[in-house]
Symmetry: C2
Subunit: 343 residues, 2 copies
């Protein structure tokens, strides 16, 4: 994957950005993390006046062979039903996208069904679901590389289309199981600390999920990020990892949603640590393990609203924060202008 | 102030709202605090499909006689300069209002200067600044009642104009000092736990502020909310307290910003506890004491982004969250419809 060598972000503008922020008509630092976000956007866009005009949510959908082991409280068929719900504009992500003036597109990374074409859907299907990672690799290395490459292309195309921020969302029954395995191997962290209830397990379901993931983890000693992604899946996670790489190549901010999107960002960061300054971590999921995974990459999410849905819902709620952060650098008068009556 | 008897919020719709939320195409409760917010909006508006179309920020401005004691790191003249900056559209609040599609108006509650008329400014000046609360009551009881009444009228007018949410902001050099005294007497809490650095004190400034507030607190044993407001000020805080009362009377959601706006809400809640279900607490300020003040009324703010500016900046960042919360109840398909192909 040498084509994903990302140049380190150019920090030349940082002193000028800090000087500008500190010279605005407010006590220095009084906008807290919003100022840090403004600085980050300035560095990403290499501008003293970063802009956040158009935002897009890409919802990557894929199915997981692991669901054969009962790792999810929901049947795999829900993935297809939810893709149809996104396309009908009636999922939670659509509601939040409307509220935050964000465009939304669904990417079929590997749903286990043939989906009818739809203008809001990108057909990038690698296969109809991954294999069962409890007994064999979820995908081949070639499939994994293909998923990453496609994800990067999708993100670069979105940036070229004029989107200033790319939010990553996902839909895939069973994908907290894959994400837990990725976290276990890439953070790394003990498996027990990585496994949570997902969207709604009871105690028996959670025990079954834990046992299955122990079998999957015991099957391979892989630790290299590409190998780990191929071993544990899923297609939507590998494609999101590619989207992080592509967004960084296109010098575009990427909003990382919850547990699963963070696992994808973690994989991307392990492949190319230089992507991290392009990542904005949106929301601390209620899913057990998310805080620990964020800690492993030194990330502090913007929101903590007890969400545990995915779909990009947490990222969407941060789009207005990014818009506000950009406007700190474009809309606020300097203290000097205020004190000298130059408004 | 018997005219501010607020009827208890009608909770008749609560079971229907919960049933609707639990029947949406997502795991029950998976949108966490956003679902609680949707429920709150439904109860405030008495609708199963609450709406958040138009939002307004009211920035209440006033000066404080306490500044004569050096309780602020900034001179009182900054209040006027910042009012002019709001009206020129170039303050932090304007930047965030633009980013969140929120209208903004400045209310002159008691700035210590004659301000020229401006279409974006409501002249509701009670007096040119409060008196020095370290040596005498900040205002008369009659002034306090007048400020509250005017604040209530402003909020009711905004609701009648079609604003679905009223965000409260403030500008007033020295007003963390007033707010600390209100918190001390109304939470109640030891004074030391209520006093923080404001927008930017050094250690000597903070010590001076503490000593001044100890003198002010020692001057009176008032604990009744109206008396406490009159003793410690300020006009903008009393008017914000009135706005909370008026918003509740108009069955309109009110977004409470940081430390000072919360002190105003605390006063309103002590005057009429029934207003609290109409209050949405936006942001936990970096100002020492804010968390404790919020705890004293059992409030958990939505955001924690290390803001310590005021102006309503924290409230503005929550406007999109309210829009998203309302859309949970209007835009998401029911699980039943998804499972039965009725999209």
């Amino acid at each position: 994957m040498t084509q994903f060598a990302i140049p380190a972000i150019d920090r030349t503008l940082e002193p000028a950005l800090r000087t500008k922020l500190d010279g605005l008509a407010k006590p220095p630092g009084s906008l807290g993390r919003m100022e840090a976000l403004a600085l980050q956007l300035g560095l990403i866009q290499q501008r003293l006046d970063p802009q956040l005009r158009r935002a897009i949510l890409l919802v990557f959908a894929g199915d997981h062979g692991l669901t054969q082991e009962g790792v999810s409280a929901y049947p795999a068929s829900v993935t297809v039903a939810m893709v149809q719900t996104f396309l009908a504009g009636k999922a939670s992500a659509n509601a939040f996208a409307s509220a935050t003036d964000t465009e939304i597109r669904v990417v079929d990374a590997g749903v286990a069904a043939q989906l009818p074409p739809h203008p809001g859907q990108l057909d990038q299907k690698i296969a109809q679901g991954t294999r069962n990672a409890a007994v064999e690799p979820a995908m081949t290395l070639a499939q994994c590389e293909e998923a990453i490459t496609r994800g990067a292309t999708i993100a670069k195309n979105a940036a070229a289309e004029g989107f200033d921020v790319i939010a990553l969302g996902e839909m895939g029954i069973g994908n907290t199981a894959s994400a837990a395995l990725l976290m276990h191997r890439l953070s790394p962290a003990p498996l027990a600390a990585c496994v949570g209830a997902g969207t709604g397990h009871d105690a028996a379901g959670l025990a079954r999920k834990r046992a299955t993931l122990e079998r999957a983890a015991a099957r391979t000693t892989a630790t290299a990020p590409l190998d780990v992604l191929a071993e544990f899946g899923g297609f939507e996670i590998a494609m999101m990892a590619g989207a992080v790489l592509g967004a960084a190549q296109a010098k575009t901010a990427v909003l990382v949603d919850g547990f699963i999107a963070t696992a994808a960002a973690l994989a991307a960061i392990r492949l190319a640590p230089e992507v991290q300054p392009y990542c904005i971590f949106a929301h601390c999921s209620a899913e057990a393990g998310h805080r620990l995974m964020l800690d492993s990459i030194g990330a502090t999410p913007l929101l903590d609203l007890d969400l545990r849905l995915g779909e990009g819902t947490g990222g969407l709620l941060c789009v207005p924060l990014l818009r506000a952060a950009a406007r700190i650098l474009t809309d606020i008068a300097s203290l000097d202008d205020v004190l000298n009556g130059r408004l």
